[in-house]
């Protein structure tokens, strides 16, 4: 299913109140409201089967946008089409084609094994027995759920629970999947597992996936394309690699030489780190070949490594330099 978003806006009316008694009493009678523009004129479109990272700092409008896409919030203005449906009409056919997973909120029943939640979903989504068994087998294998299915949810670890959340959300084979912080709070190993699963699932089922995450690792591993918003406005929409080149016109050059001489490195690049036998320099992208050659010529180089700057850095820059990006 494709996703089309045109000039989307969402305003909230928020009740404002100062601290203190006098104001508390006053607000009983007369409330002051302030309009918060959570999403401002956002447009983008996502092709079927695409997996897109949705980035922004806290309060940027990511979750609000995602909720509008899932039909949970009514847009103030603008148009949304998900697979041809207008989400807020909340048609049963639309709901059967999409799924929402929120890392901080659970849909599993706390006191009984996840399998029971799966069966409830089976009844709600009217999944045929054979299809259900087949899907469950597949998810069980991909997510290694076998030992978890029969244990009460409350006895599962956070990571195990997240895997079960994913399974519960995918039983009806949605065509579009909204993942809001799916790896939040998970350890590095489990994060990696969840990522691998999402990538594989997307490859095999051509499910359209929109993912928000705080962990750059998630986005770097899963998404070729990112959409960045801040203060409700779209800052960037395009390839992750392109963004990195645009924002960080340098690479990191790590060179291992037996002894690092005390000298000025200005003609090579900007020093990031000097250690025993190792130096890391920040070098303009177009000067990389020249600087590398210089190193090889002038030093006894044991190893030479060219790296892109870490994604975290790129994104932090993107949030700061709003004007430079788009």
């Amino acid at each position: 299913m494709s996703i089309q978003v045109n000039h989307l806006n969402k305003h909230f009316q928020v009740h404002v109140r100062q601290a203190g008694w006098a104001d508390a009493v006053r607000s009983l009678f007369k409330r002051e409201y302030k309009v918060v523009e959570a999403v401002k004129d956002v447009s983008f479109s996502i092709q079927p089967g695409e997996i897109v990272g949705f980035l922004g700092p806290n309060g940027a409008g990511k979750t609000t946008t995602m909720k509008m896409l899932a039909g949970l919030l009514h847009p103030t203005s603008g148009e949304i089409k998900v697979g041809g449906y207008v989400p807020f009409e909340q048609k049963a056919d639309f709901k059967k084609m999409m799924s929402l997973v929120m890392g901080q909120k659970s849909q599993l029943i706390w006191d009984i094994p996840p399998m029971e939640t799966f069966l409830v979903n089976k009844a709600i989504y009217e999944i045929d027995d054979s299809v259900f068994r087949h899907t469950l087998d597949e998810l069980t294998e991909l997510l290694e759920l076998e030992p978890l299915l029969t244990r009460p949810t409350r006895n599962l670890s956070l990571g195990q629970r997240m895997k079960c959340e994913l399974a519960a959300a995918l039983l009806h084979r949605p065509k579009v999947l909204f993942l809001d912080e799916p790896t939040i709070g998970l350890d590095v190993h489990t994060q990696e597992k969840v990522r691998q699963f999402i990538a594989k699932y997307n490859r095999e089922h051509k499910t359209t996936i929109l993912l928000t995450s705080h962990y750059m690792g998630d986005v770097a591993a899963l998404c070729d394309r990112v959409i960045i918003i801040n203060h409700g406005k779209l800052l960037y929409d395009g390839g992750l690699q392109v963004l990195a080149e645009k924002l960080t016109p340098y690479k990191l050059l790590e060179v291992r030489i037996p002894t690092v001489p005390q000298m000025s490195w200005d003609e090579y690049g900007e020093v990031v780190e000097i250690d025993e036998g190792k130096i890391i320099l920040r070098v303009q992208r177009d000067r990389i070949p020249e600087v590398s050659a210089k190193f090889l010529q002038n030093f006894e180089v044991h190893d030479l490594n060219i790296q892109d700057p870490p994604m975290e850095e790129v994104i932090t820059l993107a949030f700061q330099e709003e004007s430079h990006v788009s």
Partner: protein, 262 residues
Amino acid sequence: MQRHWRIFREFFRTCLVEELEYRSEFIGNLLSSVFGIGIAILTIQIFFYQTDQLGGWVYEDVIILLGIFNFLQGLIDFALRPNMSRLLQHIRRGTLDYVLTKPVDSMFYVSFRHLVFWRLIDVVLGGGLIVYGLMQKQYIPSLSDFLMFVVSMFSSIVLIYALWMLLMTTAFWVIRMDDLSFVFNSFFETTRFPITMYQGWLRIVLTYVLPAAFITSTPAAALLGQWNGVTTLVSLVVAGVFLWLSRRFWRFALRSYTSASS
């Protein structure tokens, strides 16, 4: 309808599994139900030491009314009450979002998702009390008495559901659930006695504003052969109107939820 019945059965099944996790509760619930009904019968007996009728109803009639009250209370505690606190949790934690993304009627889901089936003990005990009352009175209802009873019980259940939902829906704005339960209980307790027992404005309110009269008095009268077709019909209409109101109110609440939460 059939689909909702299937989903309801699935809710029932999972709740059964859930409850079986805490088996010891069965004994506790059984004891408290038996004790509760015992106290209620005792209270009525105390009344009848002083008088031989309550609002025109004799002892056996009041026992039957109490049976109906207990039956309905069992149903409330079985299907409705357990869902009140869950709805509040859903709203506060934001998991109502999951309910709203499911292809099932949200009002149906939030009112029947959680069932505490031990409370069906009260339904059975209530049924027993009705039979006991009839035996004491040595009255065998005719087929038409029984049919009228079934119809008015049906309206009574629908009415209770609608009133409960109207109250439960305020959970979107009210945050304390104890208060909500208290409001409903205070109202529902009035149906423990015949409507004719109440005087003046209280009776008017309980008949025309909050139609408590239709909840226990009408079915009890029907079973005792004192039914009248018009009243039964009115009870059906009133139940329908309240159900429609509760649905409208639920929709309204959802609209404000979905335009304000973040």
